[in-house]
């Protein structure tokens, strides 16, 4: 008999059992309930509900705005994370704490605040609306609210990775003749790429399900600025439980496919690094 490995957590059976039980209770059973409920409709009715113009427009807005917000946050979140790690400036710790505020704030508060700022007589809206930029009650407002909600995910996933980044790498690239852009493209970006992708995925999935902050600033005009979670809520209020769960299942399937795709992308990146033997 060979000596057994020391395990911090007790044996495979017990740990795996807890994992499955927990996942089932918290995630899988509620989700399956949604699936079962929507199955009551039957496939044709399901398809009909999901493909109504109002629902399609809402799904497009929810996913489109979430993706756009995640991408914008990826750029600016990177810059913020970089500044927080690399630069020393007075008030750095305060800025660092502010990053977490969107986590802590009830999202409805953020929604109300954003609406107050960007509506036609708000501080910012007053200035930009005469210039032709309308933010409140448009899809732009939705993106803005989702950017607010998603920022900490990107910054917090990037910070530790940037802190771990060996500065000598940039020095090495510089002495080898690389410009800033080349150093960023070939040295920094590949190193932070997996974390950036994770951050984006987190921010994106959070944004897809976001409700509280969006409904105030979106204006909720059907076919224009109405998001999918709101359509679900409306259906629920109309006691259309079957239709509501159908839309929910559609969202779930799309989200799951996208998550799988992002995971696949990360795995592919890691494989590509490892497999070149």
């Amino acid at each position: 008999m060979t000596a057994r490995h020391f395990r911090v957590l007790p044996g495979f059976g017990l740990t795996m059992g807890y994992t499955l039980l927990y996942l089932s209770l918290i995630v899988l059973i509620p989700l399956s309930a949604a699936f079962l409920r929507s199955a009551e409709l039957g496939p044709e009715r399901f398809w009909a509900v999901v493909t109504t113009p109002r629902v399609l427009s809402a799904l497009r807005l929810s996913f489109g705005a979430a993706l756009l917000a995640a991408l914008v946050n990826a750029v600016f979140g990177f810059i913020i994370a970089w500044s927080l790690v690399r630069l020393r400036f007075p008030g750095r710790r305060i800025v660092d704490a502010i990053i977490d505020l969107p986590f802590a704030l009830p999202t409805a508060v953020a929604g109300i605040a954003l609406t107050a700022l960007y509506s036609a007589n708000g501080w910012i809206g007053r200035i930009i609306e005469p210039l032709g930029f309308k933010v409140a009650y448009t899809p732009t407002g939705v993106v803005l609210a989702l950017m607010f909600v998603g920022l900490p995910f990107i910054v917090r996933t990037l910070q530790p990775v940037i802190a771990d980044l060996d500065r000598e790498l940039e020095g090495a690239a510089e002495t080898l003749g690389a410009s800033r852009l080349q150093t960023f493209r070939w040295v920094v970006l590949p190193a932070i790429w997996p974390a950036l992708l994770t951050g984006c995925a987190l921010a994106f999935s959070r944004a897809v399900g976001e409700y509280g902050s969006v409904i105030f600033i979106a204006g909720n005009i059907p076919l224009q600025s109405e998001i999918a979670p709101l359509v679900i809520m409306t259906k629920l209020e109309e006691f259309e439980y079957g239709e509501a769960t159908a839309i929910a299942v559609a969202m779930l399937l799309i989200s799951f496919t996208l998550m799988l795709a992002i995971n696949g992308l990360q795995l592919w990146g890691q494989r590509r690094q490892r497999s070149r033997t």
């Binding site: 060996d166 000598e168 790498l169 020095g171 090495a172 690239a173 510089e174 002495t175 080898l176 003749g177 690389a178 410009s179 080349q182 070939w186 040295v187 590949p190 190193a191 690094q273 490892r274 070149r276 033997t277």
Partner: protein, 605 residues
């Protein structure tokens, strides 16, 4: 490509990490910057690479100023201690990086990459990831990568620091061969003296941001000029010897002039004896070299080809250590013996041995020791604990000797006498001068560590000795030195031009013969008034005052002109030169004081 550093200074906030370093490295030379961690050597290297900006000075490549040229345009190859390989690229892609950023065609890149990997014997590893390689292999990749763009300068920042002993030696060989073959000017930064000896055409030793000495490895080992270099570059036993016309006296032993270097001059001298230059025998009669004393073997250890011994001298030995010993601990010598010596005489711990000296080297430093002159033990300890004396003695590794307790040592002619700057200073100085003391340090109670050094002399005759003293002191202080000439307002206009010329000459002389660069300042007024005002107003200034004359003249000068100075808030370092017509012995002592001139610069000999 030749490299010139001209008066490089680099500060991080309050801390000066590189302090006024000037250095010329010839084209194709392999230069090693050696120093303990924190000595500023890596900063200097990074400044050469362009990765660190500098506050003062210029860097020239082939006499072209590159101080403000960005790193990517300098055309240097830099190898880091922790490799800094791009982990997400293969070995081949790492090596090709410099070519890729320059837009070189794929085929040419591949050809050059194969050449370079062959050069470092890693041609089978092109498609591996760096993480799959051992430390030594990774560092070889880093070397190949740094050579891809055919740099004319190769900079190596502790490249062997993270490697095992055996791999180190292999990689050392690789780097030496590559450097020879490609003929690049190379600077290696290391704290390992063995590496420095093995690789360097020339070595520069850095300490506290200063470049102390440069020279060929053997030259620096055999003829160091400073205590720091003597002890950092290999082990050394440092003694205080007494030079006279007959040669060098070490304890009771008289070493003939022929056996010691530079056995001219007079007075106390720091004597370096390397561990391999000490001979051990079971009795004095069997020694082949000059007998020094007897002692007993404290411990011995095996170190490959040689045996290392520690030999303890009896407490009453007349041999004086030049470094501070803790609480009157007995003097312990470091000795190494080769295998034939071991065969001739087997030794065990505890055994009594006779100690002989084969070869000694005298350090040309004008500061051989600090001798405290104080009336009471309390005053003495106050002086001993003053920040200035502490800093100087620690940094120089010089010994502080209490002349109060053992006032039997009447013949204190050399070393620096240290006394409190108070009302009794002048009589104490006069007494010391009468005994032949030439250098005195007066420290006011509570004086902080100086940030500025001001140098003045009352006559041209006092200048050479004062400058030698300043050069020695400045290497151990983080301060800025200014040579001040004070011009009488009554002097005619022509004299002002002469004063300016003298200032510039002095600066050139300091730079030329001591490697020390100072600022210059011309003041109008009377020297004594100006100094008294300075001493009263500023605390953090060390005033170095050179005066000339015989003992009585100097005493008179001090009493009449500089009494307020000695009661001020600034520490004062007095350099007393005897006038040219003084006794022969004193003139000799002056010559020895000037001797760092020849050696501190570039190991010239």
């Amino acid at each position: 490509m030749s490299i010139d550093f001209e008066r490089i200074s680099k500060r991080y906030g309050e801390l000066t990490v590189v302090n006024d370093v000037s250095l010329h490295i010839a084209s194709g030379e392999f230069f090693v910057l050696l120093g303990p961690s924190g000595s500023g050597k890596s900063t200097l290297l990074r400044a050469a690479a362009g990765l660190t900006g500098i506050e003062d000075g210029r860097i020239l490549f082939d006499r072209r100023d590159v101080t403000h040229v960005p790193a990517r345009q300098r055309g240097v190859g830099l190898v880091f201690q922790h490799y800094a390989l791009f982990r997400h690229m293969t070995v081949g892609e790492n090596v090709e990086f410099a070519l890729r950023v320059r837009g070189v065609k794929h085929a040419d890149r591949a050809r050059r990459r194969n050449e370079l990997l062959q050069l470092v014997a890693l041609d089978d590893f092109t498609n591996r990831m760096p993480g799959q390689l051992s430390g030594g292999q990774q560092q070889r990749v880093a070397v190949a990568r740094a050579l891809a763009h055919e740099p004319a300068v190769l900079l190596l920042d502790e490249p062997f620091g993270a490697l095992d002993a055996q791999i180190r030696v292999e990689l050392r060989e690789t780097i030496r061969q590559v450097q020879r073959r490609l003929g690049m000017t190379t600077i290696l930064v290391t704290h390992d003296q063995e590496e420095a000896f093995a690789l360097g055409d020339r070595i520069g030793v850095m300490h506290n941001g200063r470049l102390l000495e440069t020279g060929k490895p053997e030259m620096l080992y055999r003829h160091p000029a400073t205590r720091f270099v003597a002890t950092f570059l290999g082990a050394a036993n440092l003694f205080l010897g007494e030079l006279s016309a007959g040669g060098l006296k070490l304890g009771q032993a008289q070493i003939a002039a022929a056996d010691s270097q530079r056995a001219s001059g007079h007075g106390e001298a720091v004597t370096v004896v390397r561990p391999e230059d000490i001979e051990l025998a079971d009795s004095e009669a069997r020694l082949h070299s000059t007998p020094l004393c007897s002692g007993h073997v404290q411990s011995l250890s095996f170190a490959g080809g040689v045996q290392r011994l520690r030999v303890q001298l009896p407490g009453d030995s007349a041999v004086q250590s030049a470094v501070n010993l803790a609480n009157a601990a007995p003097l312990v010598l470091e000795v190494t013996r080769n295998s034939s010596e071991q065969l001739q005489l087997a030794l065990n711990a505890g055994q009594r041995v006779a100690v002989g000296v084969r070869r000694v080297h005298l350090l040309p430093t004008p500061i051989s020791s600090f001798r405290i002159l104080a009336d009471s033990a309390q005053d003495a300890s106050q002086l001993r604990n003053s920040p200035l004396l502490n800093q100087l003695a620690t940094s120089m590794r010089a010994r502080i000797i209490d002349s109060t307790a053992s006032s039997g040592e009447g013949n204190v002619t050399q070393g620096v006498a240290v006394l409190a700057a108070d009302s009794r200073a002048i009589p104490t100085i006069a007494a010391a001068l009468a005994r032949g003391t030439q250098r005195l340090l007066c420290i006011p109670a509570g004086a902080p560590l100086p940030r500025r050094v001001v140098i003045c002399t009352d006559s041209d005759a006092a200048r050479p000795a004062a400058l030698a003293l300043v050069a020695s002191v400045m290497r151990h202080l983080h301060a800025e030195a200014t040579f001040v000439s004070v011009q009488s307002p009554a002097a005619p206009r022509g004299d002002v031009a002469g004063s300016f010329r003298r200032l510039l000459d002095t600066r050139a002389e300091l730079l030329e013969s001591h490697g020390l660069d100072v600022r210059t300042d011309l003041q109008v007024g009377a020297l004594d008034d100006w100094l008294a005002r300075l001493a009263a107003s500023e605390e953090q200034t060390l005033i170095v005052l050179g005066v000339a004359g015989d003992a009585a003249q100097i005493e008179a000068t001090l009493t009449q002109r500089f009494q307020p100075l000695l009661g001020g808030r600034c520490p004062v370092l007095l350099s007393c030169s005897h006038a040219p017509v003084a006794t022969l012995g004193a003139a000799g002592a002056m010559a020895s004081a000037q001797e760092p001139d020849q050696q501190l610069i570039d190991g010239a000999e």
